[in-house]
Symmetry: C2
Subunit: 201 residues, 2 copies
DNA sequence: TCTAATTTCGAGCGATCGTTCGGTGAGATG
DNA sequence: CATCTCACCGAACGATCGCTCGAAATTAGA
């Protein structure tokens, strides 16, 4: 499942890494447009200029692409989230910062995000996806804790768990409708969500 | 794309309709679990007990199943929504009623809903999906209008368009995490969403 | 019971899938 | 120049895909 035979010489290794990253980015775009299962290797050859054999110079199988897309999405997001919660900002400011970083990450990894939500059944079902699942869970845990600390404790009728799920739904869905040069910037969208979940209308 | 040769005699027609509905329900379950493109006709034969040829007695092609799932999801939902907005209830009550009906519909058509959101790229791309797209749009229009009427006009920093998108995101996502006998009933979930979008914390 | 309509079967079709592998040429190393 | 690594090609493989079709089984109505 891991990349086959990266070259040993260091400057060739750098070029190899870059080309693999290009391949993954192209795959993310095609998977987002057509779906993972509905995108054939042949379509990938057309979009990359590589022949079939050339693609398998960088991956061991089609599924590698999906795993790499998830990793590229989740790892930097979790890193950012951990940085934010490690500050000594007041919880509400942490939540605002986390939301902004998150929505901006969705905007800068829009294809990745569409694929990640679209292929949830693939990720959810099988053994070899355990790591991806646990990384997603890690992010949701951070979000959950920040959210609980930031919200006024015990407001009547208020349900932190439901609010978390609502927040996950609205931010994930953002990748579906967001236009790169739309009316609202990612930061403004994040602030809009912040207002919704903190009930400050 | 429409069903081939429904029988002419009326009581046979009823049985034919029922079996077709069973087939569609099974397809919805499998598609929700594995994805549309990743589910084979062979898997459908195993789940239904019908042989390959038998399945094609009720549909013209695999895509018929997906179309039927979308129709079964959207048509009764739009009907309910139109009924609610035709009442002379105050806008806020219309919104609450619409949210409850919607979330309850998501709960009673969970597989349909998962498939509908999961296969968005399929629905979005090609010509023959125009009707489904326009029906989704019709529902979103109703929701948009109710939402605008129900919310206090011109609240500062408030964005009805973003609120609509946030609402679509959270309700669609509900189908992903909802457990049939979970802590919250569909009605409670709907009321939670209502509180979020009306900013009454 | 006879007949015709209906329902189902399942082998098999052509197409396409993901993947493999022997070969080629470029470029660096000695 | 000889040698080796690396990047890539593209024909071909077995598997599986959605789907067809002639025949058999079942059923309804006369």
């Amino acid at each position: 499942m891991s990349p086959p035979s990266p070259p040993t010489r260091p400057n060739l290794r750098a070029r190899w890494d870059a080309r693999r990253a290009d391949l993954i980015a192209t795959a993310a775009r095609l998977f987002a447009e057509r779906g993972y299962a509905a995108t054939s290797i042949t379509e990938l050859t057309e979009a990359t200029g590589l022949a079939a054999g050339g693609i398998y110079h960088y991956i061991e199988g089609k599924e590698d692409l999906l795993i790499a897309i998830c990793d590229e999405l989740l790892e930097p997001l979790i890193d950012q989230a951990e940085e934010i919660v490690a500050t000594d900002l007041p919880p509400a400011d942490q939540l605002r910062g986390l939301l902004r970083a998150w929505v901006e990450h969705v905007a800068s990894h829009q294809n990745h995000m569409v694929v990640f939500t679209q292929e949830r059944q693939t990720i959810e079902r099988e053994r070899r996806w355990r790591r991806v699942r646990s990384r997603r869970k890690a992010f949701e845990k951070i979000l959950d804790e920040v959210l609980r600390r930031a919200r006024p404790a015990g407001a009547p009728g208020d349900d932190p768990q439901l609010t978390l799920l609502a927040l996950l739904g609205m931010v994930n869905y953002t990748a579906v409708w967001l236009h790169p040069n739309g009316r609202l910037s990612p930061g403004q969208i994040a602030d809009g969500y912040y207002d919704l979940v903190l009930g400050a209308a």
